[in-house]
Amino acid sequence: MNVSESNQTVEKAIIVSDGCCVRLGDSSVLDDVTFSIEKGKKVAVVGPNGGGKSTLFNAITGLLPIDNGSLTIYGKKPEEVRGSISYVPQKDLLNKNFELTVKQVVEMGLIGKKTLSIFSQRKTNLKIQKSLESVGLLEKIDENINNLSGGQFQRVLIARGLAQNADILILDEAFSAVDVGAQEDIMKLLNDINLEGKTVLIATHDINNLENKFDEVLCLNRHCCAYGDPKEVLTQEVINEMYGSHNEMFRNHNIEKHTNNND
């Protein structure tokens, strides 16, 4: 890559991490993480538990401060661009002692700092309906969220992100606690969202067939083990670096294909 190509890449990049370090208490959770994600990419963030996936998302969304290095979204600090990212948290982070309807959850995507909405209730309802239509759950608009399956609830949270109309969608463990069919539905939905030009980042434990599902993969184990096209970067060495002695479970993963591609 020559200098002008490199400059163009940096210009197109909307999330740029340059030697980013994040500490929690006395321990370093992310150390010297460098990558840049271009607009419209669909990126998988993989790594072991405790590898820093959620910490990276918390740093991107401005929930955790950067200890060293830099992390910018559209060239600005994460806390300066809040609202331009929609975040689908892990399911168990939500307080659900009381129940809400699907409509009330999606409406949260339209709630801003101002107490009086600039939208009329009619416009708000139209946006909610449009978002739910996109995720195929319009008929569930008045359903209690506790009556939904895990996959349907994930889609409701994605609809909330769509209602927010943010350019970047981040999903933390979107495929946990959902069956294979629901995973496929969510993936298809994310593909459609991605085709509309939105940048999508997903933390996942499933590293099989990443090359068929994602444009890029970010491999984390407290540091950036690799970043790039899954066909090229998911080598046996990178998997060893991420999962250490537990890499046996990824035997069926098509490493050879990647190695051949690299050759």
Binding site: G62, N95, N97, G109
Partner: protein, 277 residues
């Protein structure tokens, strides 16, 4: 029948008591669903107990509980919020330490300063002793709480269900957190004379918990919680008058009775749904 219901209110002190009971019933049961949803019942108990040393010093300096109400509640909310956020010992532990320390400090101050307060009234409430001035203060506090909850309702619901999502969305979650703590403190302090430090939790949590059992969504539970809070406080006041019972415990017991009824309604509903399926 109507004469029996209106008879207590031929006395001025009973009219004042009714206003205090209604305002306590509304404000506490309005905040109850938010408190339960955020698992803040223990926090609310700590706020109630932390008022004791402030009341002791205030009464020693010549102020009434009503006059101390607003500054005391804001002070407690900010102090508790700060300590809990910045301590590394876990939220429950921090609340437990503050709770017991403040309560102990309150008793010591009452003894050392030789403050002339009726401890039983402070702990369990004495609504019949509410003065005209108290009524105005309590009404003002109630109107402020209801107005602010109405203005920030959507933001508070978002923060209550998904604090992380609300922060990422760009809401000022620090402000919302302290706002809720202040509103909770104000409601608790405003209700101290009605139900007392120990029983204030019953009007905060029991109507909301009862509403949760018989409603389907958060929004509907708020209205039902307020209804149950009103029924508990007013019927408790009647029981107190006609049966010559202490007012605070009467209100608490009425709230508990409603909870038991809702509990069985919920069980019956579940069983009916099970057999229908």
């Amino acid at each position: 029948m109507i004469e029996i219901l209106t008879e207590p209110f031929s006395y001025n002190f009973m009219v004042r008591s009714l206003i205090a009971a209604v305002t306590s019933g509304i404000t506490l049961s309005l905040l109850g669903p938010f408190t339960i949803n955020r698992n803040m019942g223990f926090m609310a108990d700590a706020i109630a107990h932390a008022t004791l040393p402030i009341i002791a010093v205030g009464v020693f300096l010549g102020f009434s509980i009503s006059e101390l109400g607003v500054p005391a509640s804001i002070l407690i909310a900010i102090f508790l919020g700060y300590i809990i956020k910045n301590s590394n010992i876990g939220e429950d532990t921090a609340i437990g330490i503050i709770f017991s320390s403040f309560f102990a400090l309150g008793f010591v101050l009452i003894s050392v300063l030789e403050v002339t307060v009726n401890l039983e009234d402070l702990l369990f409430g004495q609504i019949l002793a509410v003065s005209r001035f108290d009524v105005f203060i309590i009404l003002g506090m109630c109107i402020s709480v209801v107005s602010l909850i109405t203005i920030f309702f959507k933001q508070l619901v978002f923060y209550s269900f998904d604090p992380v999502g609300a922060e990422v969305k760009g809401l000022n979650t620090n402000f919302l957190n302290y706002l809720f703590l202040v509103l909770l403190s104000v409601s608790i302090v405003a209700s101290l004379q009605s139900v007392g430090i120990i029983l204030v939790l019953s009007l905060l949590l029991i109507p909301a918990a009862s509403a949760k059992l018989v409603t389907n969504t958060f929004h509907s539970s708020i209205f039902v919680s307020i209804l149950f809070g009103l029924i508990s406080s007013v019927s408790g006041l009647y029981c107190s008058y006609f049966l010559n019972l202490p007012s605070g415990p009467s209100m608490s017991l009425m709230a508990s009775l409603i909870f038991i009824i809702c509990f069985f309604i919920n069980k019956i509903k579940k069983n009916v749904a099970f057999f229908n399926n």
